[in-house]
Every structure is written in C-alpha cells, then in structure tokens.
C-alpha cells in the first residue's frame, strides 16, 4: 500500500531534487518553412509567438509527489518534456539533482532488426546506463519484462505489449531521484500494470521524487501530496492536492455546464437495468453486473423510477484467481455530469466477499436516498487490491428517476435543523 508521503521521513529533510524558476516555452510560428530559414540565418523576428507554457516556478524536495492536472493543451506535456530534458526551455532555469527518469513514450529507439538484448544495451546507453552497469541489470530487466528466451529474438517479432514491457523494465531498471510519469499507469495488460504501479510505489517509498501527469484525478488524489493545475500555459493553482483538485473539478463542471447549455441533450441510451457493455475476455478482471433494486418499470421513454426510499446497488465482478478486488460506485446527476457522491470498499475498509460461483460481490445501500426529484446516473468501478489500478469501469451504466414529493430547489436534502 502506498504511504502518504508525509509519513516518509527516511529522506534527508530539505534536499531539493528539482527547482524550476520562471520556466517558459515559446513556439515560433512561421508562415512558411522558408521564413524559418531566414529567421535562422538573418536573426529577424518574422514569426508569431505562441507560449505553450510560461511563468512556472516550483520546488520539489526528496520524496514529494506532484500531480500535474489541467485541460488538454494546458501545457502539461510541454512541462514534462522540459523537465525530462527532451525539450529546451525558451526562458527560465531548471535545476535537477541526480538521476532523472522519464516515462513519457515507451519504446523509442528500439531497432526492429536487433534482438531485445541488443536493444537493451543500446537503449540503456541512451539513458545513461553503461554496458558494464547493464551487465548487472540485464537479468533483472528480462525477468521483470517477462520476456524469457524471447529476449534473443529480433524486436520486430515482439507483440506491442512485449515492447512496452521491455521499455518500461529498461527505463525503471535504475532507481531515479526524480521520476516523471505521463499517464504511464496504462502500460500493457492488467497483470503488468499492477507490477508497474508496484515498482513506482517502491521507488516512492524509497524517497524518490515523482512528477505525475494524469487525466485521472482519482490517481492524482491517491498518489500525490501536491498538485499543480495548469491552465492555458500558466499555473492556476499549486498546493495541497485536495484543494487544487477541488478547484479544478469546479472549473471542469463549469465548462461542462457551458457545453451542455450549448448542445442539445444526447438521447438517453441506458436504462435502469444493466446493459452490459461488450465484456472483456473472461480471464481478465472485469465487472459482470451492476443491479439497482426496487426500480419500477419505465413509462414511455423515461428511465425507470426508484420505487423504494433506499437505493441499493449490487456489483458483481470477476478477477484473476485469488485476488480480492475493490468495488466503487459514483452517483451523478444524469446529463449534467454533476457528481453527487462516490463510495468505495477500499475507502470504507469493506472486504468484498466471494460467492460460490467465484464472483466477487458487494452491495451498497444509500438509506433514505436524500435526493430531490430528478434523473441520476450510476457508474461502477473495479479496482485491484491496492485500490490503484482501475481494472474496469462502467461509466453511466444505469440511470434512475427519483421522485420526491416535497422537492425544493437544489439537488440533495442535507441533515439540518432550525433554531
């Protein structure tokens, strides 16, 4: 299990791993490639400037984990590339200490005609692992990538999963001081994803500083103690994860509301009963069913009405033999995407039970569902035992209508009293 970083005190306090001041990246937009040549030779400013990133300053100490969030095009990838050193800044300074490993795009630089082993030595040299060091690391990398004798076959005979496994095993073969991850938790199959997450956790528990960029706010909240929200190339908020993520979520909701007002509501697809999405292969961990109890049949094109005061949702899932998963649900206002609540067995410390047929099953009951009249949507999630790897997610998989006779403006009834 991942430790919250405040509990990691083995690191020497105050050792700065990364210090960035006034960082900016300018893209010069030329009308034609010829203009670029003239600018290069003549030194003229015949271009328009586009600042993908400007004014970023931050300092990361040993053992800290910073999550990077923001909309598409906010400059997240630019910042990661600048910090990884694959792109040069137009202004500002970056001071890094120690080994920096970036998991940006895996598999770059592998030559298809050479064997996995040959590529390992070459790829290693690109990220600063000498041949002598590689001799010591080789066996571990091959074992981690689970390539066995395939390591001596040309890389062009590998499946894409094998290439990514080899690449991940290679870049993480040596423990870095600063680890930069771009959405890399989605590497390979479920089994390998889990290994990747465990390796990253191990680095973190050893005091490695991590910079993590993801669209999954769930993972950012789970992994990071600090977050940076980039908006249109500028930092909008930097601070404790919960506060920054909350501010960003409010911004996303406002955006969605704007979009929903502009476009007509899409036709309702799902109804109260579970319409199972095309299921993944049975040997993978997956959700099997999401059932809502007490629904009355739909009248006309509406979604079914909740006929009981309580909302009871039963989740069923299958996992690889022996792994006890975690299950979670999310309630949202249908259409608007306004989140109402989430609940997970890993958060609440509930042990999911296995039934005789091998499925894992858990039911959640919202007693006296305190929602006002409206349509609501249910999403279901299946997690691994640590609550980090999302094995399966069914978004908006069921909808129901709540009718509450005494509805007043608003979404929920909160416990209250007058005095």
């Amino acid at each position: 299990m991942l430790l919250p970083s405040s509990t990691i005190e083995s690191a020497p306090a105050g050792a700065t791993t990364l210090k960035v001041s006034g960082l900016g990246k300018e893209y010069r937009l030329f009308q034609s490639p010829q203009q670029r040549l003239w600018s290069l030779l003549g030194g003229r400013r015949n271009y328009r400037s586009h600042w993908a990133l400007r004014g970023v300053s931050l300092e990361l100490k040993r053992g800290q984990c910073l999550g990077l969030i923001g909309d598409n095009g906010a400059g997240k990838s630019s910042l990661l590339k600048l910090l990884a050193g694959t792109m040069q800044p137009s202004e500002g300074q970056i001071a890094r200490s120690g080994r920096v490993t970036a998991i940006l795009e895996l598999g770059a630089g592998f030559h298809p005609d050479f064997t996995g082993r040959q590529n390992l030595y070459f790829g290693g040299s690109l990220i600063g692992i000498t041949a002598a060091q590689m001799q010591g690391l080789e066996a571990g990398i091959i074992a981690f990538a689970e390539l066995h004798e395939a390591i001596d076959r040309p890389v062009k005979t590998y499946s894409s999963g094998m290439v990514v496994r080899l690449a991940f095993a290679l870049v993480t073969a040596m423990e870095p001081e600063l680890l930069i991850i771009d959405e890399a938790l989605a590497v390979g199959d479920q089994h390998f994803q889990k290994k990747c997450v465990e390796r990253i956790e191990a680095f973190r528990n050893n005091g490695c500083t991590i910079l993590f960029c993801s669209h999954s706010l769930y993972h950012v909240q789970r992994l990071c103690d600090q977050a940076l929200w980039l908006h249109q190339g500028s930092p909008r908020a930097l601070g404790p994860t919960m506060e920054v993520v909350a501010a960003y979520e409010a911004h996303v909701r406002a955006q969605q509301r704007g979009a929903a007002d502009a476009e007509p509501e899409p036709a309702l697809a799902a109804t109260g009963a579970t319409a199972a999405p095309v299921g993944p292969a049975p040997e993978h961990a997956h959700l099997e069913s999401v059932d809502l109890a007490g629904l009355l049949p739909a009248s006309g094109g509406d979604c079914p009405r909740l006929g009981t005061p309580d909302l009871r949702i039963t989740l069923r899932a299958r996992t690889a033999a022996g792994e006890r998963p975690h299950l979670a649900v999310m309630l949202e206002q249908a259409g608007g995407g306004i989140g109402i609540t989430t609940a997970g067995t890993h958060v609440d410390g509930f042990a999911v039970q296995q039934s005789a047929d091998g499925t894992w099953c858990a039911s959640i009951t919202f007693t006296g569902l305190p929602l006002h009249t409206g349509q609501y949507s249910v999403s279901a999630y299946l997690f691994d035992a640590s609550g980090l790897v999302v094995y399966d997610e069914w978004k908006d998989c069921a909808r129901f209508q709540q009718v509450f006779a005494l509805s007043t403006p608003g979404l929920v009834r909160l416990p209250h009293h007058w005095s």
């Binding site: 990246k25 670029r36 290069l40 990884a84 694959t86 792109m87 005609d113 040299s125 690109l126 990220i127």
Partner: protein, 266 residues
C-alpha cells in the same frame, strides 16, 4: 564561439555514447545482410578498382603535359576517394538530425551528437581506405617525407565534414529543401574541383570558381602528396583554414539561434 565550444565539450564528455551510436549506425545500416559492414568498404573499393582497371589497364589513357601524373586512373583515384569520403560524410550528417527526430524527442540527448555520429560512422569506413590509398601511392616516389602531412589532411577533412555537416543538419531541420539542394550540389560538385581534371585545364577566367568547392583545397593537397610526394602548396592550407573557419562561424551562429527550438522542428 562560446556556443560551439560548449557543444564540443558536451560531445567530448559523451564520447562513449557517441561511439556506441556510431557502431550502432553502422550495424543498423547493414542489418540483415550476410556480409554486414563489409559492404560499406566494398562499394568504394570496387569503384576505385573499376577506375584503375578501366583507365590504366584496359584503355591505358594518359593525361597531357603539366599534369602531376600521366596515368588517368592513378590521377582520378587520388582525388576521387577523398571526394567520396567528403560527399558521404556530408550527406549522412545533413540527414542525421531529421532522421534522429524520434530518438531526440524521447531522450534527453544533445542534438549535435547525431551529426557527430554520422561523420564518425563515415570516417570509420573511409579513414582505413584513405590509409590504404597512402600505402598504395607511397612507393611512387620512394616514401617522401611529405607523406607525414597526409594524416593531418584526413583529420582536417573530418573536422570540415563535422562543422559543415552539423550546420547543414540544422538548416535541413529548419527547411527540408536544404537536403535536395545539397544533394544536387554534391553530385555536381565533383566537376567544380580538380578531381576529374587537373586545375590548369580549367579556363583561366573561371579558375576562381574552383575555390567555391571546399574540397578543392583538400583534393589539391592530396594530389600533391600522393602523386608528387611534395608538401601541399600554401594556397591549399589557406583554403582549408578559410573553409574551416567559415564552417565554425556558421555553426556557432546556427547553434545559438536554434538552441531552444531545434528539437521542435524535427
């Protein structure tokens, strides 16, 4: 010149990586062939052998008065092999940055590593061939002391290719047309040099145009050493110095102006 010196220092620090990249480039180029890297040597060797057979053995052609040697094949080879080395190194270096785009965008490496590796990979092929050339021509004039200048010429030629190759690689990154223009110039350049005809055969009014080709100075110097066993003329050394200095100045300027954007152009 500070930018260029910094870059050179970085490359010097990364020389082990540069050498790994060089070996890999040679291996990758001939991956899947039975003879492997031997092909790299076979092509120039067979070309040179063909010149010798055709011009000196089969047709026994002779140059006129005033040429440094009478045998056409012997004359051709002394200039042609260095020219082939130059054209090969320059063409490879010019394409190196654009080719290395995917690697550079995913690894934190100095871009100049790739032109350097291209020139080195070419030198690994041609330096031994140029050494063979020296051994073949040395007996013509009884191992004259001027042969000592030969290794220096080869080294300066590698430097020339590195400076101009890197500069052209940056220009090619900025504007891909550079590659077409330079490829055309390389195919015609051999006529604007003393490789095919002795310099005195050029019309007097046009002799200056020969110096527009950087290799004129080198080819002249090689021919003087190999064919006559004499020290290269001062004009040749001046020509070399001018082209090296121009290359260094241009590369320094391009490096300074493209520093933060070079990878974005690939």
């Amino acid at each position: 010149m500070q930018t260029l010196l910094d870059e050179a220092r970085t490359l010097c620090r990364l020389r082990a990586l540069c050498w790994t990249l060089t070996r890999r480039e040679t291996a990758a180029r001939y991956a899947g062939t039975a003879l492997g890297a031997a092909w790299a040597y076979a092509q120039p060797l067979l070309t040179v052998a063909a010149y010798y057979l055709v011009f000196d053995v089969v047709f026994a052609m002779r140059l006129g008065e005033g040429a440094p040697t009478r045998a056409v094949g012997t004359y051709l080879i002394a200039g042609m092999l260095p020219w082939m080395a130059f054209a090969d190194a320059l063409a490879r270096a010019m394409a190196s940055l654009v080719d290395a785009g995917p690697i550079l965008q995913k690894n934190a490496l100095p871009p100049m590593l790739f032109p350097a590796r291209a020139v080195l990979a070419s030198a690994v092929v041609f330096a031994p061939l140029l050494a063979l050339l020296l051994l073949a021509y040395a007996p013509l004039h009884g191992f004259a002391p001027a042969l000592l200048a030969y290794p220096l010429l080869v080294l300066l030629q590698v430097l020339l290719c590195a400076l101009w190759g890197a500069a052209l690689a940056i220009l090619a990154a900025a504007l891909r047309d550079t590659m077409q223009v330079v490829a055309f110039a390389l195919s015609l350049g051999v006529f604007l040099s003393p490789v095919l005809f002795p310099a005195h055969l050029f019309p007097a009014g046009w002799a200056w145009a020969l110096w527009l080709n950087p290799m004129t100075a080198w080819v002249g110097a090689y021919q003087t050493i190999l064919l006559q066993g004499a020290w290269p003329a001062p004009a040749a050394w001046v020509g070399m110095a001018v082209w090296l200095a121009l290359g260094a100045l241009l590369l320094n300027l391009l490096l300074r102006r493209s520093r933060d954007q070079l990878t974005d152009w690939l």
